[in-house]
Structure formats: C-alpha cells, structure tokens
C-alpha cells in the first residue's frame, strides 16, 4: 500500500505517552505485515504448481499420475509408494485440500487486517489534511517554490485560490494573523483504489464459497423429441437429481466445416415445461446458454443414441442400370424392384470395428464409421451376407451379386448433452472482478496530488510559499506544480 507517514515529532516537553497495547496486538502486527502477505503469495504460487503437474480429480485421470511417477522414478514400487503418499496428502485434489483453504484464509485475514489497520490513517490523509504549511514541511517538500508578488496579501490569496481552482484542486483555507494558508488537493480517492482491490479479492472468495455451498453443477442428456428432468451431479457420477421443471429437446443439429469432419457449431432447440406449462422454445448453441429459474443450460456435447436407426441403401440393377433407393428403419426385408432380389437388414453398426475375435462390433453409438450388414436373398433361393461401408463405397465384401449396393445415408436419433449449472455466487464474483479492475486502475493510474500555499506580507510585498507532492507519477506532478507556480507568478506580475 502506498502510504506516506504524516507524523510530526511530539513537543519536547510533552510527557512520554504510555500506551498499553491489547493482548492481540502481536497477532494484528503479524497479519498486517507485508512480509507475511508476500510470503503467503509466494507459497500459494509455489504450491499451486503441484496441481498443474499432477492430474486432478474431476479434471483429468488420477491414474495417469502413476505412469508419471513411474517415468520419474523408473521403479514401480517407488512409484506406487509416491502415488499413495500423494493421494493421502491430497495432491490429486490440491485446490480442495484443507491446507490450500488455510492458505487462502491466511491471505484473506492478512488482507482484511492490513486494510483495516491502514484505512483510518488513509482516511485522515484524505479527509482531514493539514492545511497550514509549516517551515519544516516546506523544506521537506519534494516540490517547492517561493514567489514574491507586489500585491496585498488578500489579493495575492485570491490569485492563488483562482489558480488552484483552475487546476482542479479542491481547496481549504485558514486565515491567521501572521499568514494566510491555502491547501488544495485532487485525486484523493486514488488512495482508496488499493482498498477496493483488496476488498474485491475477499468478494471473489465469498462468491466462490457461495457457489460451492449452495450451487451445483450437473450434466443431462436428452434425446431428440424426449423430455427429461433428470440430471447427473458432477463429481458424484452415480447421484441423480430431479429438476423442479422439465426440459424437452425439440431438435438437435450439427454444422460441419466444408469438406471436413470438424464440427463448426452445434445447436439444440429446448422447451422448458414448468408445471405443465410450455415456455417458448429457445435455440442454444456453444457459447449461448439458456437460463431458467436461475439454472443455466450449456450446450456441451452431442451424440447418437443408437435408437431410431434409419439407413438408406442404393441398389443398382447391373443388367439394366436402373437404380433404386431403399429405406430401412428396422430389420425389415425390402425387394429391389424388377430383379427378384430381396434385401434383409441384419444389423447397423454406427461405429464399426472388429473385436478381439475378429467379430464385427460397434465401438460407440456415434456415426463415425457406419456399416450395414445386409442379407441378400437371391431369386434362386440362396442368400449371401454383405457388409456395406458408408465411408468406403468401393469396398465390396461379396462378389458376383446381380445388384450393386451402397449405403448412402445413415442416421439415428441424436441426444444433446447439457451442462446444468446453478451458482448463486457468480454475481458476487463478477462484482468482485469489476471492482478489482477499477480498483487497480485507480491505484495505479491516478494519483493524490496536494498543494500548500502560505502567504505572508513582507515589506509591502506578499511572499508566497508553494509546496506540493503527489503519491504517484511524481515527474508528471512536478511539471504540473511548476505550471501552477508560473500561473500565479504571471497573474501576480500583471496585476502588481
């Protein structure tokens, strides 16, 4: 904190002050010490590093840490021991451990105690400035100037007061028998910037605490056309909860970049149904959430359910060259017109792969590599099983069929994955962040500038002593101070 001591030595004949300090004074001194604050900051910074090197619960795979230790120690036994110890002392959920919270608590205490201890003095400097300039203060001032004006004292005072007013300094005055005093200041609030910044950090902590105590984070999946109020609490995958209202997914869509598999954007059209009453549908996408009743829904993922499969197969009669599109919605049997060939859909694999025994299987419900297994029933009563690859239409698993078959389209019902969040502390966080940015701005880029003037009649003229200081950006202030002196001098000369 930027502070200048404004102490004057006690009069020599005053009795030595006896002050009994309260018992908790050493504690206060400890917490308000800047060294404690700096050390706390450094410790917090250092300990945070651990959590960026080791995978943390709910973010990464904790099991990966064992591999990391193995790479590091090159010995499975020691790696396991290091893993166990790290787990016990909370290195895999470092930012939720008691000692991390204790450090944040120490930092908060330090912030609060130090601010409360210094605020009264800052307030005195701002609100009750010393108006009268003393000889010693003048000599100690970093900016000072003496002018001699051929004007009576009252007139010279008016000139100085006008110059201060023009410079934007709020002024106070004191009229004594031997001298007239003027004091002007501006930017005093800049001294509060640092308190605002410190307070904002406490606000952010409080906001975070509110969110973690009263809020929740969860995930929900809704299939197109379906309605749900079930959410899965995050961090506790097995625990389901019920929302006080229902959400229906009317539609889900993905846009891809031209020519690629890369999704450009994905959208869900959601309708909130609260106690049987439907609200207008809202289309959400990544970076555009839906909010209802304080609960936010974020578009986070999507996928195919593997239900409601639809496949479209193009069959070309090799004799006539005539093509036919056949649509399958289940395991029905359809005839290719004019050929006597019938196709029976056996199974659709959205994400085709082969398992260890070489049997066809689907790795997921996502349409990454759709393959249709089709039984081709020939007019002579025989049948052949063929696999149709959507991504490789050239690949034929069976030769010599009278029809050429390709899987042209494949779809299944999609689900939308939503992040569901309720966080009552988030507004406290944003208020804190805003306050911090403004606080820093005032603390760094505005300065408290003060000017003292003493006017005294000396042999028919008025002697003007000017002194001034600023708590920041002092070079700039020196220029301003010189301009102020020049202005008083110029007006005084012109009138005198």
């Amino acid at each position: 904190m930027v502070e200048e001591k404004q102490t004057s030595p006690p009069p020599a004949d005053a009795p030595p002050a006896v002050v009994t300090k309260p018992w908790y004074d050493p504690l206060l001194s400890f917490f308000s010490s800047v060294h404690v604050a700096v050390v706390t900051l450094i410790i917090l910074a250092s300990i945070s590093i651990i959590g960026t090197v080791l995978q943390q619960k709910n973010i990464g795979e904790v099991a990966d840490n064992l591999r990391l230790f193995q790479d590091f120690f090159g010995d499975a036994g020691r790696a396991q021991r290091a893993f166990d110890i790290s787990e016990r002392i909370g290195f895999f959920h470092l930012y939720q451990t008691w000692y991390f919270y204790a450090l944040l608590g120490l930092l908060s205490t330090s912030l609060i105690v130090c601010s409360l201890r210094r605020l009264p003095q800052t307030w005195r400097i701002m609100a009750r400035p010393k108006v009268e300039l003393e000889e010693s203060g003048f000599k100690a001032s970093p900016n000072r100037r003496t002018l001699s004006l051929r004007l009576p004292r009252a007139e010279a005072a008016a000139v100085a007061a006008a110059a201060l007013k023009k410079g934007g300094f709020g002024k106070r005055e004191s009229d004594r028998d031997d001298a007239f005093y003027l004091f002007g200041q501006k930017g005093a609030y800049s001294r509060l910037g640092i308190y605002a910044t410190h307070f904002s950090i406490i606000m952010i902590f409080v906001g975070g605490l509110l969110g973690s105590v009263y809020g929740f984070k969860a995930y929900m999946q809704i299939t197109e056309g379906e309605t749900s109020d079930q959410i899965m609490m995050r961090g506790d995958e097995s625990r389901m909860a019920t929302l006080p209202f229902k959400v229906r997914c009317d539609d889900f869509q993905v846009d891809y970049y031209p020519g690629g598999q890369r999704p450009k954007d994905f959208f869900s059209t959601l309708t909130v149904i609260d106690q049987g009453k439907e609200l207008p549908a809202v289309r959400i996408e990544v970076n555009t959430p839906l909010q209802y009743d304080g609960i936010w829904f974020y578009q986070s993922s999507f996928g195919d359910t593997g239900r409601g499969l639809k496949a479209s197969i193009r069959a070309v009669d090799l004799k006539t060259g005539a093509g036919h599109d056949l649509s399958f919605t289940g395991s029905e049997t359809l005839e290719v017109p004019g050929t006597g060939v019938r196709l029976q859909m056996q199974r659709i694999f959205p994400d085709f792969a082969q398992d260890e025994q070489g049997r066809p299987t689907s790795r997921s419900n996502q349409a990454k590599n759709p393959v249709a297994a089709v039984q081709v029933l020939l007019p002579d009563g025989t049948s052949k099983l063929t696999y149709l690859f959507k991504l490789r239409p050239d690949l034929k698993t069976v030769a010599g069929l009278p029809v050429d078959l390709t899987l042209v389209d494949f779809s299944s019902l999609q689900y939308t994955g939503l992040q569901v969040v309720y966080d009552p502390g988030v507004w406290v966080i944003w208020a804190g962040c805003t306050l911090m940015v403004f606080g820093l701005w005032f603390a760094f880029f505005s300065s408290h500038r003060r000017v003292w003037v003493r006017l005294r009649e000396v042999g028919g003229k008025t002697e003007v002593l000017l002194a001034g200081n600023a708590n920041k950006n002092r070079e700039r202030f020196t220029e301003e101070f010189e301009r102020l002196g020049d202005a008083i001098h110029a007006v005084g000369e012109a009138r005198g």
Partner: protein, 350 residues
C-alpha cells in the same frame, strides 16, 4: 501480397529499428532517435496491415475469425503488443531508452515463430467453443499484459547486468544467464531453420538440430556451445562494464521503467484472467476449473502481486525487484508456451 510476406517486411523494419535505437543510445543523436521511432511506427503499421490481411484471408477461406487462434498468430500478436505498448510508453513518457529493449523483442517474437519448424502458419477453422467475442477481448488483454511484462523483463536483465560491480556478483550472473538463455534459444531456432531451408533436411521438432537432436554428440556440442556463449558474455560483459553502463540510461531510470511496465501489465493480466473466466462461464458454466493454463496465469498474477507489494510497501528496490521481474516473466513464458508443451488442458495455445 499474402500476409506472411507482409509480416516479413515488418520483421526487417524492426531489425532496422533495433540498430537505430542502439546508434541513438551510443551517440545520443536526436535525429537518429527520431528515425528509430519512425521506422518502428512504420513497422508497426505494416504489421497491423498484415494482421488485417490475414483476417481477410480467413474470410476468403470461409472460416472468418480474428487471427488470434493458434501459436503462430498469437506470437505475431505478442510482437505487435510489445511494439504498441512501447510506442505508447515512448509517447507518454517522452523517453526512447526502452526502444533498445522493445524493438529487438518485437523482432525476436516474429522472427522465431516464422522460422520455427513444425509451427503451422495455416489459417485453421475454430472449434465451436472458441467462436466467441470473448476470445478477442481475452486474448488482446492477456497479450498486452504479457507484452508489458516482456519489456519489464528486458529492462530488468539490463538492470541486473549493469548494476553489478563484479562479475562474480550473483545478480550479474542471473542477468547474464537470462540474456544468454534468450540468445541461445533464438540461435537454436535459427539453426533449425538453416538446416531445414539451406541444407534441406526436414526438422521433425523444435531444436532438432541442437539440444533435442537424436544424436547425443550434437546434444553435447550444443550444451558446450551454450556454456561457452555464457562464459564469453559473462566475461566480456564485465570487461566493458563501464562503457556498457554509459550507453544505457541510469540505473534508477531502468528500475523505474521496469516497475512502470509491471504497473501497466498487472491490470491487463487481471483483465485477461477475468475475461477468460467470464468466457468460460458463458461457454461451460464454470468460471474457474483449475485447468493448468488458468492455474499458471494465477501463479503469474501472484508473483507480480508479490512484486508490487515488495516494491510499494516493503520498499524493495533495484536488484531484488529485478530478480522478481525475471521470475515473473519466466512464469509468463511457462503460462504462454510451456503449459502447452508440458501439461494438458483446455487451451489450444497461449
């Protein structure tokens, strides 16, 4: 003309400006100083135009996003920010002394990313989460902050080197080590570039021609060379200490400039973190998730907070705060680049 060619023009101009600022400091010739500023301003305008051009190119390709989305684009923007912060500083404080630090840093940032092998200069489409106006605000504020810290770091190195009385002074060693590290990293990147472009041998990764070579012989030679460069700089620097010190502004001015830059960088970094949190909250509903990049930006913030308290309240000056500025910058570099190479997380780059 394509944007990469325009970037190269600004690269050359920053190199010319670097030389001009050195000449200005050596002879204290105001005309040379003015010329240095003019060249820097022109280089900056050219670079701005190149960024605009790249932006337009991205629209022509059908993606249409501000060029702040991968390592290459961010390094270019870093360079741009360093020059911008410096030019504003020069104008406000009417002091050209920092040009000798800012111009070469601006040059190094684009030069190293332009020549580094395996850094894609392609314009890539954005994944859905990155398509947000928050991206622009978040990246711009963060990088302006990084840029201010970079200049402070450069000045602090100068301070540590120039303030030493003896070559065995630990602070002098730290300063020289930082300078030589930067120099060596750039030389190693240059070597990769030469081996790939001139000798025509493809380089699979960064420093493949030196420190990260598959041949242990090359590795050992590289390390010996690095230590040799350090020894040379360390010895010669102390030998010509007086003459070097006469070249640069006084120590008190350097100390003050370094701290002023941190005063500019700190609120910008704060804004960068806050806008990042706001964006994360808008995209995922979580303003803070202890992702390694987030945590490292917080670590950086804590170090500079410690710097400010040490300087303001505890009254530290000179060498000790200069060391804190160097440590802070190491954290910036780790946040920006290191996290992506060493750790895993949400950010595709800085």
């Amino acid at each position: 003309m394509n944007s990469s060619a325009v970037f190269n023009v600004s690269l050359v101009l920053y190199l010319v400006a670097t030389v001009a600022y050195f000449v200005y400091l050596a002879f204290r010739n105001e005309k040379v100083g003015l010329a240095a500023t003019l060249v820097t301003v022109v280089g900056f305008l050219v670079q701005t135009a190149a960024i605009g051009l790249r932006w337009r190119e991205s629209y022509a390709m059908g993606f249409g996003h501000i060029p702040l989305s991968n390592m290459y684009e961010s390094m270019v923007f870093w360079s741009w920010s360093i020059i911008l912060i410096y030019l504003i500083f020069e104008r406000v404080y009417r002091n050209r002394a920092l040009g000798v630090v800012a111009a070469p840093l601006g040059f190094l940032a684009i030069a190293s990313i332009s020549i580094a092998p395996n850094i894609s200069q392609e314009i890539e489409p954005l994944v859905p989460a990155l398509q947000s106006n928050w991206l622009t605000v978040h990246v711009i504020t963060s990088f302006l902050g990084y840029a201010a810290f970079t200049i402070s770091f450069g000045v602090s190195i100068l301070y540590l080197i120039l303030s030493a009385e003896k070559r065995k002074d630990a602070f002098y060693v730290v300063g020289m080590a930082s300078l030589v590290t930067m120099f060596t990293l750039f030389a190693a990147t240059m070597l990769d570039f030469l081996v790939q472009k001139v000798a025509g041998v493809a380089q699979p990764h960064l420093f493949a021609a030196s420190f990260a070579s598959h041949s242990s012989g090359v590795k050992i030679v590289s390390w010996i060379a690095a230590v040799g460069i350090f020894a040379l700089f360390w010895y010669v620097g102390a030998l010509y200490h007086e003459r070097l010190a006469a070249l640069f502004p006084g120590l008190r001015i350097l100390d003050d400039l370094s701290y002023k830059m941190i005063m500019v960088g700190f609120p910008l970094l704060t804004l960068g973190i806050v806008t990042g949190a706001a964006w994360a909250n808008y995209a995922w509903g979580t303003y803070w998730s202890w992702d390694p990049k987030e945590t490292w930006s917080l670590i950086t913030w804590l170090i500079y907070a410690a710097f400010l308290h040490a300087r303001f309240t505890a009254g530290w000056r000179g060498k000790s705060t200069a060391v804190l500025s160097v440590i802070g910058f190491a954290a910036v570099i780790f946040t920006y680049i290191g996290v992506n190479f060493v750790l895993s997380g949400l950010h595709s780059y800085g």
